[in-house]
Symmetry: C2
Subunit: 335 residues, 2 copies
């Protein structure tokens, strides 16, 4: 069943059917529209987008780019994170009649190949691992790129990310409001644009409430489970010179809690901690972990919004900054 068959049965030309389907309703009379739609419905006709793309160049295909790494190498945070992100993006694109091609990419060249192969209409980079490669892609300014979680400053692309500054500001302020003054920041942030934003939020919250920041309050740990575990194990009654920790990931927080508990230092009685990401496992830890929620689905939705703005050349702000939320559980104690 093709456009031609529909046209024949309706006694009109292919162009008329095409116009009805494309929603060019100004070019067709009401009666014709109804007649054509009836026949389309009768046969459950669905236009072939391969053919449409070939002649019109626009495929309605969006490339979702993930890094090509061994699955095991992906920090487990990405598991939950990516599923939710991809699901929300797919849903939002679907509602706008776009389709999702998923591809793990190792070198920038592959992006270009995908464009030539499938006439891609745009791409969303799901993780901020592509900052350096994007500018190597030919004509990247005109390729409708959206970067997620990236603070790179690349001309012509759009961004969707959570407000990392505000997230750690919130966390820090919450600790202060619970009576904490000796609050440390648990991540090496130098050289990492995202972590620098988070550090800045922590720093400025201290400042706002008249607490001096000194360099020893920043602990240069790697913010994953192992890094947290190592740091946690270094905590004992002698080194416990703080009452609260601003962490930059839930898994890191879990590592810290586990490591410290090996020395009999327990959260929340001996120290309070706030994570980042609001993973569902936060409900399963002991104590349940207070965390900063990233609103992942909203981030995906906004990424699609940015993309459609680019595709439709709607002149808009090219950064979506998603508000974070504090999710209170049991890892912060009022002192």
């Amino acid at each position: 069943m093709t456009l031609k068959d529909i046209a024949l049965e309706c006694g009109v030309s292919m162009m008329t059917v095409s116009n009805v389907i494309s929603g060019n309703h100004k070019k067709v009379s009401k009666q014709t529209i109804e007649k054509v739609n009836a026949v389309i419905k009768k046969y459950d006709f669905v236009p072939n987008l391969m053919a449409r793309t070939l002649s019109s160049k626009s495929s309605h295909l969006i490339l979702l780019v993930t890094p090509y790494v061994k699955t095991q190498e992906l920090d487990s945070i990405y598991n939950q994170y990516l599923t939710e992100l991809i699901a929300s993006i797919e849903r939002e694109l679907m509602e706008n009649s776009y389709y999702v091609l998923l591809r793990s990419v190792y070198e920038p060249k592959e992006i270009e190949v995908m464009y030539k192969t499938w006439n891609i209409d745009g791409a969303i980079f799901l993780l901020p691992f592509f900052n350096e490669t994007i500018e190597q892609i030919p004509d990247y300014q005109n390729k409708n790129f959206v970067l997620i979680d990236s603070y790179a400053d690349i001309k012509g692309v759009a961004y969707s990310r959570c407000d990392d500054y505000q997230g750690c500001f919130l966390a820090t302020e919450h600790l202060i409001q619970n009576g904490h003054k000796k609050i440390i920041f648990a991540a090496e942030h130098e050289g990492n644009l995202l972590l620098e934003k988070r550090f800045r939020g922590y720093h400025d919250a201290l400042k706002k409430h008249g607490i001096d920041f000194t360099p020893d309050m920043c602990r240069p740990i790697v913010p994953n489970y192992e890094g947290g575990l190592e740091f946690g194990r270094s905590i004992n009654r002698d080194t416990l010179n703080f009452t609260a920790i601003v962490s930059t990931s839930d898994l890191c927080s879990m590592g810290i809690m586990r490591g410290a508990s090996e020395n009999g230092i327990k959260c929340p009685n001996d120290f309070s901690i706030i994570g980042f990401d609001n993973l569902s496992i936060d409900e399963f830890t002991v104590p349940k972990l207070t965390s900063i929620d990233q609103q992942i689905s909203l981030k995906g939705k906004k990424a699609v919004e940015q993309l459609l703005n680019k595709i439709n050349k709607t002149e808009k702000e090219n950064v979506a900054s998603i508000e974070t939320k504090l999710i209170e559980r049991e890892s912060v104690k009022k002192i």
Copy 2:
């Protein structure tokens, strides 16, 4: 840059270039092949698959089908699970020059629409939620379907799933080998094909080692975190008439451990437990959770193998049953 341009520059016909690209090397002389390949390389020419599909009908596009549900409704197990599964499938398809279209599907009709729209070459159903809908899809026997984790018995489709029977057999036997005799099975399995297999594995392991099964050894709980929590809370010194639990999900195990510990009943001293799925969070629980590993990546790889067999009409067994593995951690105590 098109086939035509390459043909022109080489001084040959389009068909010759096409044959070189498709690997029809019997139809072209060695010199011509080299000449053509040189020009292709010179211009980084990539053939347009929209055009190829239009004339050849084969798109090299594979549909990955997930259920369309609210993200929040997806049990968190699927998060980690799906990411790893999708990553392994994408990788394997990519290596065979296939491309991945991702789509969440609400009703069977949508599958048919995707086929008409994009000339899909086959589909993999990532979760066993489609058993009832598949047979409603027109011509489903010839559509190259692979179902993951399904025990449905549908004509003409292929399957990739872990050996659930063997998984719980392994778990039960491991407990027995650690001296346990009073072992309960923690899931309502009736009416669920997959859970029935697991129960059978548990049952047969008991039998093999001369332990009688009595109906009270099967606890009809819902095998997720909440169900586990509820059951765990029901355990106290009076009701603790077993020494070990075969659970059918890691999250359920975590719920049980948490619920029981609220009553002062601790794993592994008061009872042993083995989970199912081997989630990475098993490393973070206290005690670390012994579990049955599903080899998710292998499952994805085998799913692709099944699919390619169908596409290439290679006559093979249409079920891939993935061996499970026991991952020992700290939740089983020798008694």
